[in-house]
Symmetry: C2
Subunit: 363 residues, 2 copies
Amino acid sequence: MTVTLADVAARARVSPATVSRVLNGNYPVAAATRERVLRAVDELDYVLNGPASSLAAATSDLVGILVNDIADPFFGIMAGAAQTEIGGQEGTGRAGGEKLAIVCNTGGSPERELTYLTLLQRQRAAAVILTGGALEDPRHTAAMTAKLARLADAGTQVVLCGRPPLPDSDAIVAALAFDNRGGGRRLTEHLLALGHRRIGYVAGPLERTTTRHRLEGHWAAMAAAGLSERWPAGGTAEGRKSLTVHGPYTRRSGYEATLELLRRAPDLTAVVAANDTVALGACAAVREQGLRIPQDVSVAGFDDLPFAVDAVPALTTVRLPLYEAGARAGRLAMGTETPPPGGIATIAAELMARASTAPPRGN
Amino acid sequence: MTVTLADVAARARVSPATVSRVLNGNYPVAAATRERVLRAVDELDYVLNGPASSLAAATSDLVGILVNDIADPFFGIMAGAAQTEIGGQEGTGRAGGEKLAIVCNTGGSPERELTYLTLLQRQRAAAVILTGGALEDPRHTAAMTAKLARLADAGTQVVLCGRPPLPDSDAIVAALAFDNRGGGRRLTEHLLALGHRRIGYVAGPLERTTTRHRLEGHWAAMAAAGLSERWPAGGTAEGRKSLTVHGPYTRRSGYEATLELLRRAPDLTAVVAANDTVALGACAAVREQGLRIPQDVSVAGFDDLPFAVDAVPALTTVRLPLYEAGARAGRLAMGTETPPPGGIATIAAELMARASTAPPRGN
DNA sequence: CTGTTAGCGCATTCAT
DNA sequence: ATGAATGCGCTAACAG
């Protein structure tokens, strides 16, 4: 039937313990013995039993990477970078001591986020990386804090990537947070400097850290320019006139929200989108209204995903070093990089001024 | 320390066996007893030990999804859809009998593909889904066939999604293959019908099924129109004049290859790209040469990724039902959908004629 | 450097 | 419907 470690030991004429030591490579074994064992492994085509190994060692080689939307390159880039750092040693072919970096797609659902963490806890994961913005619901935050504490207790390394640290939680190895607030502020300052005053904002989903931080940056810039804006009171008459509209991080949301903004304020000269994907939808809506970009309406995104530079006109946006952040998170999870002081690092967001923004007409 | 099944049993005043039966739900247990056990589970905040469970049961709840490039929405969409079918029941909160769908990023490397399969084999994965095109190297194909046979022997369900079946391998539950050849043919027929004769082709990486099938479709259409093309003889003088250039599935490759094609054949009136991402780069190159799309040069892509419709002009491409295919692969892996006859299904590819293609000048 | 021993935590017979 | 007993395959002390 299935080949076990004992079979390998018998064939190599050593004890099971020796085989285990050779395979795990974390204990001195004579070169000749090692050769013999490895030969037996190859001859028998032996594959280690992961569950048995994890059970005995009370830890596994699984590293979970949680993402909100795997179809979104924003997450794909971070996850791919992390995975490269974790499992990318281009193994010996025999799959020695590699970690298995696995990506779990929560779809933005808080329940699934917790479910995946439980599943990872059940597997005794070596580390967990949480990417992207978090939901700001107090109940969910409490549940997450508790769950992460439990994971940390069991020896799982927890790293946040592109997500702010949880309040009063010391379960975390490190948090790499993007400077969404600063990026949002600089983007709006750029528009203000160009002369824009009526600026529409297509924000991300409500109660998300990313949404809130980018919006706060926007408002800070507006306020500094003497243009006050307020949180839109949904449903109220005031809310229906607000220049801020919320929606998911989709092209469609950008399209519809922009049509709505243009209806509310035909004198709009600029639209800021929650991210680049949303910005694409915004561009489509602006064009469909017979308006030109940037002559009639400027449009800006966020993230600087690869396609942003290929938009026509090239999209003004805020660059987030997604690959670098993901790679760093991967190294932190592996323990091959020392955590930043205090466990928290803020990653700069750089304004990329391109052709989709220009002075408003008559300026 | 860590809570075990025995602790739960003690608290619920039943035997460990009963707790196990309640948790796995595949055995009759009195309702009252079940309640008592579940209460104890909650009170102790018990989490099943996955490795121990997998060891005893000789199978795990892991389902692996292998992708070539996680940062590419082509894979993200399929993987997300599959994952939704597999782990998306929006659990009870207690994480009952869910499967853990995990995405593994091979980066297109054959070694990593095999390594991940070994890692999954080691974990005694319940199923494995391989997405996207395969490498056509005989050595690698043989290794893959052997590895998949080994996995199937151990009870792992193997499903291919967007990948043609392996020759003489019966290890596979089902293969869902895209009609890349037909799609490629229809796309080129569309250009020929518009009047194009000098058509450049920016193909994908060499020795990939996807690349070859799309190219064969292209050539079939060209040949039917009396325009013969041949496999470019790399390095030879002839190869350097070919209207087919190979490169990776990146924006940059599309950009550089198109510049090269334009240099080789300034009279080119159309460029077909390996996929939409490559097409974006092609568009940038065409524009940089001072040429207009589609008036001077038509450009077409493949896949119909979400951003294709937002390109300016909207990109003519071939639509692949990525989400549907991924979801179906997920169901096949779970055994909740019956495999197609013969285990093989070909998924249609539909031409999406949009604004980036038009008759050549003077037509 | 290598062998011996004793569990890791659970699923599953077999009883009852 | 429930309990008792056995072993899954491996790692980690502990000897030597």
